[in-house]
């Protein structure tokens, strides 16, 4: 009723001020009709506060930490085969990172290791919604997204070990690699939010070539504080580019809790301010993540513009391997450990009899076997020759051919309004 009243009032104002204002009013009221869709089956509500005790300040958590774990939400789209494929990617994601942790302990990794533990559903089920012609730009914890996009565990291990055969030939680490030819992946940088306008630009380039594609990238609850996040998402919104932005709210930006990054209740609310749809999903529920990603990708391909999807979960390790995350209150770990995304999907598949215990064991053994081979190849492959550091700064001597990826750009002159 309240909404109707407001609309009636707007119309009156519009009438009294002529046609121009009416159109402005109608745009504004359209934007305000966006509501934030919430796919979750539970809505955890905790508060963190800094407490000073015995000369030290630490975080304490309050809220209901004993709630039972809900079932996964049935997907509107995924069938048995697809659910098992996503489950397999998530297992590979988790176990590859475990292998990296071991390689680190053996002194074979150069630098640190970054984990996506607790976030595998968000990485894998989101990237699973992309088609080959779509694009993706990962953040540091989206190693699962890279696997789904067609990179191997061997590629990622070689990145961490700085090998000559790594996708960046030793020049960068971790998830910092891409492929503009086959897999349509943009390499991230360490500064946060910068991929957002870049992926928007990818969609712009494709559109100039006559194709509406989905472009997906990620930002954390910490990274979304950056100015370029706003600039990029606003640009995509204004230009109606097919950006699918996953805001991975994993509660911690390094050691700073999300309460100190923003004060909206849900980051998905931000979507309203951009004039785009916002969606909330349980980031530990692969079905919810996939459904939201798929719907956003379809919207992108219909040229209707970007979507902001907030995935709520918790980062289950420190920022990187050196960080024991001792600042995180223990009860929070206990709460989220019960919501482990892989255990939840495994239980879902077993309950539905889509997977038997025997098939599950075989699947896990296959993943481990593949990882074993990848690990062996990566470990035994050579380091780059030192002098390779000096080459490749510029694209020269025909090292790359620049040509429109989706065909000749559509250059028809479109004059929208011509004044006589």
């Amino acid at each position: 009723m309240a909404k109707k009243k407001t609309r009636a009032k707007s119309t009156n104002i519009a009438k009294s001020n002529g046609r121009g204002l009416r159109s402005l009013q109608s745009v504004a009221s359209n934007q305000r009709t966006y509501t934030v869709v919430d796919y979750r089956l539970e809505r955890p509500s905790f508060a963190l506060k800094q407490v000073r005790a015995a000369g030290h300040v630490h975080y304490e958590v309050t809220g209901d930490l004993s709630a039972p774990v809900p079932p996964l939400r049935e997907s509107k789209y995924l069938d048995k085969k697809q659910c098992i494929e996503i489950y397999r990617w998530m297992l590979l994601n988790r176990r590859m990172e475990a292998a990296l942790e071991n390689l680190y302990k053996q002194g074979k990794v150069v630098g640190g290791v970054y984990f996506g533990v607790g976030q595998e559903a968000c990485s894998c089920a989101s990237a699973y919604a992309l088609r080959p012609e779509d694009w993706m730009g990962p953040m540091i914890r989206n190693q699962g997204s890279l696997l789904v996009r067609g990179f191997s565990a061997c590629d990622i291990m070689m990145q961490y070990m700085a090998k000559a055969g790594s996708p960046t030939k030793g020049r960068d680490a971790s998830s910092h690699f891409g492929d503009i030819q086959a897999r349509n992946v943009v390499a991230p940088t360490s500064t946060l939010g910068d991929l957002i306008p870049v992926l928007a630009g990818v969609a712009l380039g494709a559109r100039l070539q006559g194709r509406n594609i989905a472009v997906m990238t990620y930002i954390g609850d910490g990274g979304q504080s950056t100015g370029v996040t706003y600039e990029g998402l606003n640009f995509a919104a204004v230009q109606k580019l097919g950006l699918v932005l996953f805001v991975e709210n994993n509660l911690w930006g390094y050691s700073t809790p999300c309460d100190m990054q923003f004060c909206v209740k849900d980051l998905a609310e931000r979507a309203i301010a951009y004039g785009i749809p916002g969606v909330i999903v349980d980031g530990t529920d692969a079905c919810q993540v996939y459904d939201a990603a798929r719907e956003a990708c379809e919207r992108a391909r219909r040229a209707e513009g970007p979507t902001l999807i907030e995935a709520k979960m918790m980062r289950m390790k420190g920022h990187a391997i050196h960080d024991a995350a001792e600042y995180v209150p223990k009860p929070l770990f206990e709460y989220w450990r019960k919501r482990d995304p892989i255990a939840r999907l495994e239980g879902f598949l077993l309950d539905k009899k889509w997977l038997t215990a025997g098939e599950n064991e075989k699947l896990i053994a296959d993943v481990e076997k593949q990882l074993g081979a990848d690990r062996e190849f990566a470990v035994s492959s050579p380091m780059p020759a030192p002098e390779t550091a000096a080459v490749g700064v510029y694209c020269e001597n025909g090292c790359h051919e620049i040509k429109p990826k989706y065909g000749a750009p559509k250059v028809a002159n479109e004059i929208l309004i011509r004044h006589s």
Binding site: P167, T168, R171, D172, H176, F177, G178, D179, I180, V186, A187, T189, S190, T191, D194, L195, I196, P197, V198, L199, A200, G201, V202, A203, L204, G205, A206, L208, Q209, V215, G227, V228, Y230, E231, G232, N234, F235, V238, Q239, G392, V393, Y394, C395, E396, C399, H400, I402, K403, P404, K405, Y406, A408, P409, K410, V411, A412, N413, E414, I415, L416
Partner: protein, 324 residues
């Protein structure tokens, strides 16, 4: 041949490249119906349409990021900065995302970032700067600073065709003050090649952009005293034409480095080092620097005049160096 301004030469260059190659497009603030703050893209939206001439929000990081993203799909974007002073807003995108892309992950970034720089127009601290040295210091970028209308057109066309990111500094003082006859046919001026703007036997002045005209004016005055200046216009600051720099020093044995950018960390320091490496034995006198002051660009005309290098500064230093 037709007589065109420096600004019109740039406009023609972009226009011709957009006609020639459908993957070239423009994005930036107020470049569409308004035609850009300085009217470089005046009429473009009518001819090429709003899909290829895109007015953006006031968001420099988004402009560069989107240009880079489009370049990854094989387009050749031209991103306009309303003033090059505002390039600081997009610094991270330029030096971390764009400049490193080819080295890190083999992604070519064929895009041009262009806009007006430079002082002597009483624009104050935020509409007068020469921030080119920031980008010379970032491997992966090319940096272009044309002085003549002929070069402005040939260099913008070469920049658009280049497979690397180019930061193209137009000098706003020259936009409408420089008029030249330039050929009507399609031509490019290669990046990385300097030109001798005036031949001379006694002293070399190595410079670029608006300071080329300061050097040429000083050369006229000094010629009357029998001092012949050679003026080397660098045209491109990255990559630098080391051979041309060494060659002029080998010819005259005395060199003055002149730029409108501030002194400390300016390109003159790098030029001095190159001369030291390439032509130390040929020097018959100290390397002399003439630059702007190490201050922000002041607003008030008497202060700005004091801040900028002048013809009288060059005449004085040339006489001193000649007598050394």
């Amino acid at each position: 041949m037709s007589t065109v301004t420096y600004l019109e030469a740039i406009r023609q260059g972009i226009w011709e490249e957009m006609e020639r190659d459908p993957s070239v497009f423009c994005l930036g603030e107020d470049i569409g119906i308004y035609g850009g703050a300085f009217k470089v893209t005046d009429g473009f939206i009518d001819h090429f349409g709003p899909r290829r001439v895109i007015d953006t929000p006031i968001a420099e990081s988004a402009i560069v990021g989107a240009a880079f993203g489009a370049a990854l799909t094989g387009m050749r974007p031209i991103a306009e900065f309303q003033f090059m002073d505002f390039i600081g807003c997009a610094f991270n995108q330029i030096v971390n995302m764009v400049a490193k892309a080819h080295y890190r992950w083999g992604a070519p970034a064929p895009l041009v970032i262009r806009g007006p720089s430079g002082g002597n127009v009483h624009g104050g601290p935020f509409h007068s700067q020469n921030p080119e040295a920031w980008f010379v210091h970032a491997p992966g970028l090319k940096v272009v600073c044309p002085a003549s209308a002929y070069d402005a057109k040939g260099l913008i066309k070469a920049s658009i065709r280049d497979n690397n990111p180019v930061v193209f500094f137009e000098h706003k003082y020259l936009y409408r003050r420089i008029k030249e006859d330039i050929p009507d046919n399609d031509y490019v001026v290669p990046l990385g090649k300097a030109r001798v703007a005036r031949e001379g036997r006694d002293l070399s002045v190595v410079t670029y952009a608006a300071m080329v005209y300061v050097a040429l004016e000083a050369a006229e005055i000094l010629a009357k005293e029998g001092i012949e200046l050679e003026v080397l216009d660098l045209r491109t600051l990255s990559p630098l034409d080391r051979e041309a720099i060494a060659q002029t020093v080998r010819k005259t044995n005395k060199v003055i480095l002149l730029h409108e950018d501030v002194r400390t960390g300016g390109i003159a320091g790098e030029l001095g080092a190159i001369i030291n490496e390439e032509a130390f034995e040929d020097l018959d006198g100290p390397i002399v620097r003439i630059t702007a002051l190490d201050t922000p660009v002041p607003f008030s005309p008497p202060q700005e005049e004091y801040f900028l290098p002048k013809v009288s500064d060059l005449v004085r230093e040339a006489r001193r160096l000649k007598a050394y």
